[in-house]
Symmetry: C2
Subunit: 259 residues, 2 copies
């Protein structure tokens, strides 16, 4: 058996864990977790520890990035380790880097995949997965990198959708709001106000919220707590247009330019 397993926690609470993930975490000698790459406010650590039947040691950004996951690597040399991470484990580059470090130390690892925003956003919005192009993250602190606007524009020029991930300030337990992110991009390029977009919050939760409209209007919507993302919409297939109307409350007038 590989002595290290990256296990995805999925999108919302501890029930996003797969049956295989739960089995592997129960079997491991030591269980670690991190929540700074993605907020999971609905996840209850007490319930998760009870489910797994073990104490879970939560690592912060410093322990994982600056200290290079030393504790994880040290543990994996002696015991079997389960490392629980939000979403699907390898979306954050820091986890890829850890996997490579483990491998260079001679420690084999496997990934037990979980639901990810990268695919879930298609279901939540009705937009088709094969029409998404390059994803970008809107950073918390200014300035807005030129690459963000370039990516939105490049994707749009090809008729494709852009997923905008919103930065997290893990130490303050905060995530950029949809309004804040849209303000950043429209301040940099006011013509984006007429562009169609979808705001999504708490995908997979009972109180999931999804709303499509022109960015100039979307900026006034309150989406509530994290996690939140945005899709800037490209050319629409008629079934996608239907979905934006029916699932995401878009007006006909919002959709007209995207056919």
């Amino acid at each position: 058996m590989d002595s290290f397993a990256f296990i995805g926690l999925g999108l919302n609470d501890e029930k996003g864990l797969t049956l295989e993930g739960l089995e592997e975490a129960r079997r491991a000698d030591r269980v670690f977790a991190e929540f700074y790459t993605n907020p999971m406010p609905a996840l209850d650590m007490k319930r998760l520890e009870k489910l797994i039947g073990k104490k879970i040691h939560v690592l912060n950004r410093t322990q994982l990035e600056e200290e290079g996951g030393r504790e994880l690597i040290r543990s994996a040399k002696e015991d079997s380790v389960a490392f629980l991470v939000p979403g699907d484990p390898m979306i954050a580059t820091t986890h890829i880097s850890l996997r490579l470090s483990l491998s260079k130390t001679g420690i084999g690892s496997r990934i037990i995949h979980g639901p990810s925003i990268m695919s879930a956003v298609c279901g939540a919005t009705g937009l088709q997965s094969y029409k998404f192009s390059k994803t970008v993250t809107i950073p918390y602190d200014p300035p807005l990198p030129a690459s963000v606007l370039e990516t939105i524009s490049d994707n749009h020029g090809r008729g494709l959708h852009t997923l905008l991930l919103l930065d997290v300030k893990a130490d303050q337990n905060k995530q950029l709001t949809i309004a804040e992110a849209l303000t950043k991009i429209t301040s940099a390029n006011p013509s984006l106000e007429s562009r169609l977009a979808v705001g999504v919050a708490r995908i997979g939760a009972r109180d999931e919220r999804v709303k499509a409209s022109r960015i100039g209007l979307l900026i006034n919507e309150d989406f509530g707590g994290p996690p939140r993302s945005i899709v800037v919409v490209g050319k629409l297939h008629f079934m996608e247009a239907d979905a934006l109307r029916i699932i995401c409350g878009a007006q006909d007038s919002d959709l007209r330019e995207n056919y």
Copy 2:
């Protein structure tokens, strides 16, 4: 409670189901499933039925697409329905279409997300999720649509990776092999032989197989049974190059042109 739940089965076998998905399927009055949009050869129906504690009614393409999911809609008018689908539920457009039909009939639905190839392929290869652009499917039967080569070329021009999904012949329980798919694209454009790509098979399973090399060589590799996919690689970050070497067995000489 919504009377219809789309539930993702994940990537490999019945243990890819999330805890929430299992709970919801156990609670539903009737349980349906389909496996034609994506093969899950390791999934054992008997074990899945035992886990859920109910008979599972499997639908084929005709029942779902030509008959418009009539049985599902009829059932959902009377009972609560769980519909199990491979991967994350809404990746196939036929499921979006069903969700819209349900909604037009006044039936609310929710999605219980599962692991999907769209994000899992990043973990399996070490390629970074935000560098993937538009995905395409290589169809089983000729001719190869011009849009396939155009997408590979467009994405490559932007330095981005392309996920190639391989078509399934569900009625014959077959999926295009990696060699067959690569033969199709290199026959149409022989210059692609020198392009770097990664073949992936059975992601998430114990016998997962991942191999990166120039397409001209990759075509000779045997990847074994389905499910299988291909990534045509764009410009590499040094950590991605490391991952292709360490995780996917790429040679230094294969990587040179992708920096």
